[in-house]
């Protein structure tokens, strides 16, 4: 049951990204059908709702519901924006879509435009993905030449222009409103909400913004039907999903499996741990999701509810598998440094708090920790979470709390012994 949606071209085709090959697997058929038969846009939105597709960018918001917030007939320009910023550490699935199945994303975006009455779309690709950008551009050229993009698509009277926009290196631009600011030629600083992009989005116009994987899922959902998609997954977690799996494992990679697949099966798929080491912990949904101990993870299924009930989040489906040679303090040090480095700096709790968190973790890592530091970390997290303009603040707090919840003894050991509990001992400049 794998590779049926975003990866439906992957294992069947030699050059899966080429237009002809994509068409040979049914590509652009749905778009053709919709345009030729003038399918009601509301029908498209309904199917999306039925499918139970939840946003694959991390927040898991139902895609069909998001689309329904835009009144299609309101006058003026509307936009479809795709989020290919893929910055959450551990995530590398959208890159594979861009590389191996760009036409499906294009088709998904055109259909999204049709559904909400937008005639222009932008795909925001992170700046480092130059090769993927070139691939996507090549696909755009092909699609334009074949009449799937441009004016009066397939004689339907519907126009849709699609452009890529390249980022410049800023994790926060993955946050949807920061991304919009960035397209507008500004610093990527998130906007406060409300208003939401559906009302005040790109250039102040109604906009839907979805993750690459979400949009790429659209053609298949419409082809096979919402029920079909929903049935692929489990209750409250419709469909299949791409999991980016990395870490101390034998065969890292991106795998498309139905939601609800047991983690243990995925663990088998990746060949288990490398170098004979033991599974210690798993970050189940990207760096921001709280860590879960390995043995607990082995009992979980990969769906929104199961992971949430275990105190973490499915997020973007980025699974980092960690072996018993790794020091959790060092790991958190690196994670906290990331949020501190990537905070946009706009709002007080995040700007000041992420730096504070990192400095405290860093001093514990470096053997300068104090007993009160563990409470301090918890308290600083409490002052960031839920009080920032965007969710980066929460994202910075969650991993800290997760680590303290499950691996407090490693932090305590660092404080008490000024060295590491695991592996060869002190990690960084510890003396």
């Amino acid at each position: 049951m794998a590779n049926e949606v975003c990866f439906r071209t992957l294992e069947y085709l030699k050059q899966p990204w080429e237009l002809d090959e994509y068409k040979s697997r049914g590509g652009y058929e749905v778009l053709n059908h919709i345009l030729k038969n003038k399918i009601e846009p509301s029908e498209v939105v309904e199917t999306m709702k039925t499918s139970g597709l939840r946003g694959r960018g991390g927040a898991g918001f139902p895609t069909g519901l998001k689309w329904s917030f835009i009144s299609r007939n309101a006058p003026g320009q509307k936009y479809v924006v795709c989020n290919s910023d893929e910055g959450e550490p551990g995530t590398f699935k959208d890159r594979d879509i861009l590389r191996y199945n760009p036409h499906q994303l294009i088709e998904g975006m055109v259909i999204a435009g049709y559904a909400i009455g937008a005639t222009v779309g932008y795909n925001y690709i992170r700046g480092e993905f130059w090769e993927e950008y070139e691939r996507f551009e090549a696909a755009l050229e092909q699609a334009r030449a074949a009449g799937f993009l441009g004016d009066n698509l397939l004689g339907s009277g519907f126009d849709f222009q699609l452009h890529s926009h390249l980022g410049g290196g800023a994790y926060v631009c993955g946050e949807e409103t920061a991304l919009l600011e960035s397209i507008e030629g500004k610093k990527g600083q998130p906007r406060f909400k409300p208003p939401f992009p559906a009302h005040f989005g790109l250039y102040g116009r109604p906009t839907i913004i979805n993750n690459t994987e979400s949009l790429s899922s659209v053609p298949v959902i419409l082809k096979e039907g919402g029920e079909w998609f929903k049935e692929l997954g489990v209750e409250n977690s419709g469909g299949s999903k791409l999991f980016s799996i990395s870490g101390n494992i034998k065969n890292p990679g991106v795998f498309e499996v139905p939601l609800g697949t047991p983690f243990s099966e995925l663990f088998k798929l990746v060949g288990g741990m490398k170098d004979g080491h033991k599974l210690k912990a798993v970050v189940p949904g990207g760096c921001s999701s709280p860590v879960i101990p390995g043995e607990q993870m082995m009992d979980l299924t990969m769906d929104y509810d199961a992971i949430q009930n275990a105190g973490s989040m499915l997020g973007s489906g980025a699974i980092v598998i960690i072996d018993d040679q790794q020091c959790m303090v060092k790991l958190l040090d690196r994670m906290s440094y990331f949020y501190h480095e990537e905070s946009c700096g706009q709002c007080t709790p995040c700007r000041e708090g992420t730096g504070w968190l990192w400095r405290v973790v860093n001093r514990i890592e470096n053997g300068k920790g104090r007993q009160e530091d563990l409470d301090l970390l918890e308290s600083v997290c409490g002052k960031i979470a839920g009080r920032t303009v965007c969710a980066l603040g929460d994202a910075a707090a969650m991993p800290v709390r997760g680590m303290l919840k499950h691996f407090q003894e490693e932090f305590q050991y660092h404080i008490d012994h000024k060295k590491c509990m695991v592996g060869a001992g002190p990690t960084k400049g510890l003396g």
Binding site: F192, S343, P349, G353
Partner: protein, 787 residues
């Protein structure tokens, strides 16, 4: 949108508000205080400081009041444990990187951070890492920076983008490394820049001129009125030990809102200039002697009586329109008491041909706040940004709301809003206006009808006429470059005819703080108090100079810098028998020509009244003692009147004078009617090169010319000759080379600067600057030669 109100509950109180209003606006209106740093009612909401977090029932997270719209039934708690914890949390974050240098910080005592910290901070910092230090940058002579203290509220940045209309400050870098500043070493040059000092909630941006001069709690605050342009911005004057230490804006929504131009904010420095005249002085046998008041006044009276006692027409009174209403009134009363109508405040005007048919009380015929609701405006001869920064700000709001604004000027103006600019030589300005008059089918007679008929109607002119016609609220405004124009009367008649034809209002933008007051007080030769026409008009400012009189009475005016043609006035004074100067300052030009110098109180030292452009009377008190022996000018005039034996000089206070004026002027307001549809022949020369002699913003009056910090800004220009590249090439002149300029046979040498803002056929040589006083009128033909 419905007008129905919703009801919300805040801390147990029921409040009503329009749906969608931000919570903080509702609580502010109700007097419920929610702490905040980034929110400011005049700026867009950025919601970044997170200080205003409050608890809203049924919402698990605290919400920022500044960006949470209210809806019916909302229950808010601003001081619940959840709200307080959130506010305290933010405060702790803000303080971790804020230096503990309050004792040496100029903001100390009036710091929003300090105030809130007292309520929400905790005593010990749990942050034990090093604090962030931001490298210092010099952003000019007016604003002292210490960005290490910055709390990143971005008010200053939003001010630049939204109010000043120039993005000079920004936030560069990301996250904790984000710093506010200009990024490169660069001064902040907006003429409104000082407002960021008020907006900055901490001591990151403070006033450089008053730096370290006093702690906030040592200052006494008085209300006052600005003494430069005709807005009459309301101010707070802060004094210590009988010295003005600084000026802040005082909120007055209908006038200056909460803003202040840099000129109004920093010119007080000129009060303490070394040039202050602190004792009466008389000249005897070519020697200046310091004397007592009695002796000086008697000397003055004797001089006046012997020079003009028998022939009133030999007395010429020239007064600055920055004087108070009371002073202007007494000056004209004294002059008229001596059987003379030779009094004028229009020192920078040269074309008086309209006198008699002119507007009786010229000013702004709409309100200052009404400027922002204009939907079309035509400005004639106005560098509005530098002449009236506050009105320019209102106009910018109108432009941002879609108003069509056009300007007819002899120079390209660097504006902060979108406008169409017609730029041409001074003579061509008349044609440009005539073209619009023709497009608007304006009714004119005589030679003007001919000029208009002959004018070519361009598409641009048509557009302006159309915009004015279709505007619900359209205005034509004449600025100080118009009133200095050699064909001012032509411009006024054309403007008034266009106004009539397009159903627009006609307005003047008077240059001085009391230009309107001067007209009301009767400080003109052809109209007495209340603008009432005088049967036998006296000599106007120009005639008083070109046909020299034996006696001159000057008040608040410096002959080198405050007149349309300094060499003309200086020549007239040179040959006079008696020159009496009421002045706050010594100056070379006066000392070589006057016979008596009577020291008068300066800005903030005297009580009085200014009538601003829209006709609002604003009275104020003296808040510091006049320096040395100087006395309020109204008192000096009163004594002079008494000594001269003129009736009606027995007022006991400036208020008595004011009451007297009020009884004569009643409810009189601005009257811009023009009672003719033609004008004299054109004066402007069309041959040769025409001088454009504007008045630079920081050269506009004696006080600002002596304000040290303003004189260090980029707007404080020095005398130069500016030409278009084309024109320079024709003359064979090179950029930055000294060349000779000759006007009315007077010559001097000045550096040439190639400036694309100058049209071909014109030379821009600003007036009121040292090095230009030997030249002729602000406009007129000049010859350039290689040095």
């Amino acid at each position: 949108m419905t007008d129905e109100l919703v009801t919300i509950e805040v801390d147990g109180r029921e409040l009503q508000a329009k749906p969608g209003t931000m919570l903080i606006d509702v609580t502010d209106a109700a007097g419920i205080n929610i702490p905040r740093f980034c929110y400011h009612k005049k700026l867009s909401v950025s919601a970044n400081c997170r200080m205003c977090l409050v608890e809203v029932a049924k919402v698990p997270k605290p919400l920022p009041a500044c960006c949470t719209p209210v809806n019916d039934g909302m229950k808010v708690s601003t001081r619940s444990p959840l709200a307080l914890a959130a506010q305290k949390g933010t405060m702790e974050f803000l303080l971790i990187n804020h230096p503990l240098d309050c004792p040496i910080c100029d903001q100390g005592g009036e710091c929003e951070l300090q105030d809130v910290a007292v309520g929400y901070g905790s005593d010990i910092s749990r942050f034990s890492e090093g604090k962030r230090v931001v490298p210092q940058r010099d952003i000019g002579p007016l604003i002292a920076t210490d960005f290490t203290r910055c709390i990143h509220c971005t008010r200053c940045i939003r001010f630049g983008a939204e109010i000043a209309g120039v993005r000079e400050l920004g936030a560069t870098g990301r996250g904790e490394h984000m710093t506010i500043g200009t990024f490169i070493e660069k001064s902040v040059d907006s003429e409104m820049s000082g407002n960021v000092i008020d907006l900055c909630p901490v001591g990151s941006l403070t006033a450089k001129p008053s730096r370290y001069q006093a702690r906030a709690w040592e200052l006494t605050q008085y209300s006052g009125i600005s003494a430069h342009d005709s807005v009459g911005s309301n101010i707070h004057i802060h004094t210590r030990n009988n010295r003005v230490v600084r000026i802040h804006p005082k909120e007055n929504e209908s006038i200056n809102e909460i803003w202040l131009s840099d000129r109004d904010r920093f010119s007080y420095e000129g009060l303490n200039s070394e040039d202050r005249l602190t004792q009466p002085m008389i000249r005897k046998n070519g020697e200046w002697l310091k004397v007592g008041w009695q002796e000086a006044l008697e000397f003055a009276v004797k001089g006046l009586q012997s020079a003009a006692g028998s022939d009133g027409d030999q007395l010429a009174t020239l007064v600055s329109a920055n004087s108070t209403l009371e002073e202007l009134y007494l000056a004209q009363k004294l002059t008229r008491g001596m059987e003379s109508n030779n009094i004028d405040h229009r020192l920078r005007q040269s074309d008086f041909r309209l006198d008699g048919n002119d507007s009786p009380i010229p000013g702004l015929s709409i309100t200052i706040s009404g400027v922002e609701s204009l939907d079309a405006a035509l400005l004639i001869g106005s560098n509005i940004r530098k002449e009236q920064p506050i009105i320019a700000h209102r106009l910018r709001k109108a432009a941002n709301n879609g108003a069509n604004i056009s300007l007819i000027n002899p120079l390209w103006i660097d504006l902060h809003f979108v406008a169409d600019q017609f730029v041409s030589t001074p003579a061509m300005m008349v044609n440009n206006l005539a073209s619009i008059a023709k497009a608007a089918a304006a009714k004119l007679t005589g030679n003007l009808a001919k000029i208009v008929k002959a004018a070519e109607v361009s598409n641009e002119a048509k557009a302006v006429a159309e915009q004015l016609k279709s505007a619900e609220s359209g205005a034509i405004l004449l600025g100080s470059q118009a009133s200095a124009h050699p064909d001012y009367s032509v411009l006024v008649v054309l403007a008034s005819a266009i106004a009539e034809a397009t159903d627009s209002s006609l307005s003047y933008l008077p240059a001085y703080s009391n230009s309107v007051g001067a007209a009301l007080a009767g400080a003109t030769p052809h109209r007495g108090v209340a603008g009432v026409p005088i049967e036998k008009s006296g000599a106007n400012a120009e005639l008083m100079q070109s046909m020299p009189r034996r006696a001159y009475l000057l008040m608040g005016a410096e002959s080198d810098f405050d007149f349309w043609n300094p060499s003309l006035i200086n020549a007239a004074l040179d040959q006079a028998e008696c020159v009496i100067s009421l002045t706050a300052y010594r100056s070379d030009s006066l000392e070589s020509r006057a016979d008596v110098m009577l020291p008068i109180a300066g800005f903030a030292e005297t009580s009085g009244t200014f009538v601003n452009a829209e006709g609002t009377w604003q009275s104020f008190n003296g808040v510091v003692k006049p320096q040395g022996e100087s006395r309020p000018a109204w008192k000096v005039l009163r004594v002079l009147g008494n000594l001269l034996g003129i009736d009606g000089f027995d007022q006991n206070s400036s208020n008595d004078v004011l009451e007297e004026i009020k009884s004569l002027t009643a409810d009189l307001t601005i009257d811009n009617s023009v009672s003719t549809k033609t004008a004299g022949e054109m004066n402007s020369s069309t041959k040769g090169l025409c001088r454009i002699g504007d008045v630079p913003i920081y050269a506009s009056d004696a006080l600002v010319r002596r304000a040290g910090s303003l004189q260090k800004t980029n707007d404080a220009v020095t005398a130069s000759i500016r030409l278009s590249a084309n024109q320079a090439q024709k003359g064979g002149f090179e950029d930055h080379q000294d060349i000779i300029v000759i006007q009315d046979n007077n010559r001097t040498q000045l550096p040439l600067i190639i400036d694309p803002r100058v049209p071909d056929g014109a030379v821009w040589i600003s007036s009121a600057l040292p090095g230009t006083e030997m030249l002729g009128g602000q406009y007129g033909e000049v010859i350039l030669e290689k040095a």
